[in-house]
Amino acid sequence: MMQPGLYHLLFISAALFFIGIYGFFTRRNLITMLMSIELILNSVNLNFIAFNKYLWPHKMDGLFFTVFIIAIAAAEAAVAIAIIINLYRSHNSIDVENAEELKY
């Protein structure tokens, strides 16, 4: 194994990203889908940080981007959870496949 560097980080983040996507595709529970989204967002954060660290350390663009993403992730999660709870009230379930009334 070699010295951990940019590519390692990119690998981790890409892996995380696609794991998240996989989760998003296959999880039927809305909350777990939301968790997958969080994984995706985290992988992006990792990307930004890695680039900022290894390639463009003289500016803080990546870092700030990460900060804002985290903030937005929180907001998004909050709204999403609110919606999910509302959905749960009306459907009595948070299985995504129980909410497929709108189609075709």
Binding site: I21, F25, T26, M33, V96, E100, E101, L102, K103, Y104
Partner: protein
């Protein structure tokens, strides 16, 4: 009076009658329409006679030959430089002669109809149609332009259509008028294409220019002759096609089938249109273009001759078997026009050789008289007996004395018994044929015998034989108005032969001395008399002889009775081939294939739309999968394929 205007008035007066009676007749002129029409036509007739007098005796002859005059010409529609439809008047012997014939016969018919058509509901309409017809026919004969003649040709056709279909609520009349129009229309197709060819070859539509271009050897003719198609030169095709037009209108074999049916029209109409005037338009057309036919395309002229001869004999044979008197007369007309036609066919251009031409015109003239007379006489009989069938008639000579006498004169004229009109003209025709085409001569001789036979068969069946008619009470013979035309025409039929026709009408305008040869005349007269006697033997008294005779030659009789099945052949072609093999498939193709494709496009779109609705599954995860696949797809596409 201005000459152009004077002559223009001849057709325009009947036209005025048509417009006047057509627009206001039904409402305001119900009673007086007949009188109005007749008076207008009388004026026309007087003008025509005056014109004829002036032309033949005052100014027509210049330097020993009758000249062609164009006193009036108005550019009606110009196609391109030099090629235009001009409405004009062409004065030459035949057009002047035709003016006289048409106006005279038409006047007779107008007068006759005053009595014959009395009390008809559509009396004004009838007279307006007569006016239209007379106008068109007159326009036709004075045409100075090939297209002008076509225009009036069509108008004549439509007025014939209207008059045949006058009894519009009779299905047979409707069928007949349709048939007449369509068959002649089919022939006119040939005429039209012929016009196109001739006009393109000669670069003009004007008769005089056209004839001189095509007959005098020069660049025009050379060009017209040079371009060939299927071995024949353009002008040959043109002339032949024009002749088809003429043949259609003149009821030449095999386009004659409409004529007998046309007898569904009122009898005076048959007299006017289908005996005396319109049906000779084809003859007139060939005569009009005679220089082209005889000089440039002698081959076509030969065809003309043969078509005429064949029509003459076929019609005569059929006429012997028919029982409807108007049909007999119709076939007789066809036969006589055949005579005229082959007379042209055996003629040559210029001088003595042009005898056939003169004879043809002469026969046209005399035929108009006696055939109109025959029809009007038949009309009087039908008027009296209310039937067309021979078997309902017989012994009428006592009841219809004037009709009887005039009818007899006409029969003698048509049979070629001297000194009646028909004798002279037919004699000339036979003479011309004898000199130029012996085969046709023998056919014609036989036909003239047949003519005498069937005419007298008719005569004896109507006026002698046994009395059949159911009408017990004695009716009058018909009014004054019906008798006058009969008498006038009888005079014409009896005396017209003595007109020295060759002096006035010849191929090149010069005088053609007619000479009678007693030796030559003997045979035709004998044949004619033989025909008459056979008819007398068979039909003067009621006997079983006709029945036996027909039985002995039954198959021939049957064939002839059924008009050689030509109608059936036509029916087969139209119904089975045109309707079933072309029309129906075309309609089917349109509905199912062309339209089907359009509908298929619509259906396919709807189908696809239905099929792909699964994509919109309502599953948010699937949406995301599509999303990712789309991204990957685009990325691969643009990274690796579309750099």
């Amino acid at each position: 009076m201005n000459l152009g205007l004077q002559i223009a008035l001849i057709p325009l007066l009947p036209l005025a009658g048509f417009v006047l009676l057509g627009l206001f007749g039904r409402k305001y002129l119900k009673k007086s329409s007949g009188i109005i029409g007749t008076i207008l036509l009388l004026a026309s007739t007087v003008l025509a006679l005056y014109t004829a007098y002036e032309y033949f005796f005052v100014y027509g002859k210049v330097a020993g030959a009758y000249q062609k005059f164009v006193p009036l010409s108005y550019t009606w529609l110009e196609f391109s430089k030099g090629v235009s439809i001009d409405m004009g008047i062409l004065l030459d012997p035949i057009s002047v002669m035709m003016l006289v014939v048409v106006t005279f016969v038409s006047l007779m018919v107008h007068i006759y109809s005053l009595g014959y058509m009395k009390g008809e509901e559509r009396f004004p309409t009838y007279y307006s149609f007569l006016g239209l017809f007379t106008f068109s026919m007159l326009g036709l004969v004075i045409s100075s332009n090939l297209f002008q003649i076509y225009i009036f040709w069509e108008l004549v056709g439509v007025s014939s259509f209207l008059l045949i279909g006058y009894y519009y609520n009779k299905p047979s009349a409707v069928a007949a008028c349709k048939k007449a129009f369509i068959v002649t229309r089919f022939a006119d197709l040939g005429f039209l294409i012929g016009i196109l060819i001739l006009s393109y070859s000669s670069g003009t539509l004007d008769f005089n220019t056209l004839i001189s271009t095509l007959t005098s050897s020069g660049t025009g003719q050379a060009k017209a002759v040079a371009s060939t198609f299927l071995g024949a030169s353009a002008v040959t095709w043109g002339a032949a096609l024009v002749f088809i037009g003429g043949a259609g209108k003149s009821a030449m074999f095999p386009l004659h089938i409409w004529l007998p049916d046309a007898m569904e029209g009122p009898t005076p109409v048959s007299a006017l249109i289908h005996a005396a005037t319109m049906v000779v338009a084809g003859v007139f057309l060939v005569a009009r273009l005679f220089p082209v036919f005889s000089i440039t395309t002698p081959g076509v002229l030969e065809i003309v001759g043969w078509v005429g001869a064949i029509s003459a004999i076929i019609a005569a044979i059929i006429a012997c078997t028919q029982t409807d008197i108007k049909r007999v007369l119709a076939y007789s007309t066809m036969s006589q026009i055949g005579f005229m036609m082959f007379a042209l066919g055996v003629s040559k251009y210029g001088g003595e050789a042009g005898l056939g031409y003169t004879a043809s015109m002469f026969h046209l003239f005399t035929h108009a008289m006696f055939k109109a007379l025959l029809f009007l006489g038949a009309g009087a009989v039908i008027h009296y007996i209310h039937s067309n069938e021979m078997k309902d008639m017989g012994g009428l000579r006592k009841y219809l004395p004037i009709t009887h006498i005039t009818f007899l004169i006409a029969c003698l004229a048509i049979a070629g018994v001297p000194p009646f009109a028909g004798f002279f003209s037919k004699e000339e025709i036979l003479l011309a044929a004898y000199h130029n085409n012996p085969a046709i001569y023998w056919i014609a001789l036989f036909t003239s015998g047949l003519t005498a036979f069937y005419m007298f068969r008719l005569y004896f069946s109507i006026f002698w034989n046994k009395e059949h008619h159911p009408h017990g009470e004695k009716q009058s013979e018909g009014g004054f108005s019906m008798m006058i035309p009969l008498i006038l025409l009888a005079i014409g039929a009896a005396a017209a032969g003595f007109i020295p026709f060759g002096k006035y009408v010849s191929t090149d305008g010069t005088v053609l001395e007619s000479h009678f040869d007693l030796q030559f005349s003997a045979l035709p007269v004998a044949v004619g008399l033989a025909g008459i006697f056979i008819a007398m033997w068979l039909y003067r008294k009621e006997s079983e002889r006709p029945g036996k005779l027909t039985a002995s030659i039954y198959s021939i009789y049957k064939t002839a009775y059924n008009k050689f099945y030509i109608d059936e052949i036509y029916t087969f072609i139209t119904k089975k081939i045109i309707f079933n093999l072309i029309g129906k498939p075309a309609a089917w193709f349109d509905k199912n294939v062309v339209d089907g494709l359009v509908n298929l496009t619509g259906k396919a779109t709807a189908e696809v739309s239905e099929d792909i609705k699964k994509v919109q599954s309502g599953k948010v995860q699937q949406y995301a999968i599509y999303f990712l696949v789309g991204v990957i797809g685009l990325a691969v596409l643009f990274i690796y394929i579309w750099k």
